[in-house]
Symmetry: C2
Subunit: 157 residues, 2 copies
Amino acid sequence: MRLTTKGRYAVTAMLDLALHQGKGPISLADISDRQGISLSYLEQLFAKLRKQELVQSVRGPGGGYELKRDSAQINVAQVVDAVNESVDATGCQQKGNCQSGEICLTHHLWMDLSGQIHGFLSGISLADLVVRNDVQTVAQRQDGRATEELILASRSS
Amino acid sequence: MRLTTKGRYAVTAMLDLALHQGKGPISLADISDRQGISLSYLEQLFAKLRKQELVQSVRGPGGGYELKRDSAQINVAQVVDAVNESVDATGCQQKGNCQSGEICLTHHLWMDLSGQIHGFLSGISLADLVVRNDVQTVAQRQDGRATEELILASRSS
DNA sequence: TTTAATTCCTACTAAATTACTCGGGTAAAT
DNA sequence: ATTTACCCGAGTAATTTAGTAGGAATTAAA
């Protein structure tokens, strides 16, 4: 079962994209600033997200990334799956060869858990997250700070 | 979120204990043979399980481990928690300081997921697992093989 | 047409974690 | 006494994560 910073970063970045939808492509530099994720690392994650056709890119100045589908059509499980291998709690990638070719004592338990997690995460779309109160609050804080930094930067120039 | 071989081994070993309950203490060597887990590694895991008072030990010849509580009173979440730090999907150990002291955009999502996983695993006791068909089948295979090996060993001596 | 912004791509690396091994203890039964 | 088993701490190889580095390709705008 892998659910580490990698998967969390991916979901966070995708949610950032969903929140700033309709303003043209969003650059990874913006996401990096807002979410505090290293730019190079974001590039690697978005390479995978693009392969899975969850985002599309626009190159050149003013370019960036956009969701390839509507935010209601992208769920959290898809995003995590795109960057991790899978939301899988078994040790055998569900093959059932966990104990020298045969299934181990707890194989079905981990299969059930995997199903549970996948069911939960696939039931939550980016659109669902966007309208959540806690997400709105944090997003406002992040956008506010970004604006603040812009003002500070323009003053000092 | 950590759910790796470590946690799976712990649950498997505890289930082995539950399956062979009432036959006196079970040695780690037996569990190692049946479940294909390194003996030394099992020792480390059982040190933690003992600290959490999930098992008790009997030293000396004929010794081993027994469940400290009834198998119905021990759930899978407790076992995983005993060896991993926790079944926690957040990156901040639920402290909410994920983004430079404040909560990150997806904090509540991972809190919810953690709750979901914990709820699922804490709803399954060792006793529940023991009576499952798939567990029974594998247990029979494992016990059968152990007996077979005994016969082969006695023949070659 | 140059410049700058941006994605794209590959390789490398530091830190952490996992999944062990090793070597010696300590307690208790025979 | 000897053996069986738990107990304990240190060390280690492999893997993964998280991130760096450097550059090439693309394209909008100056």
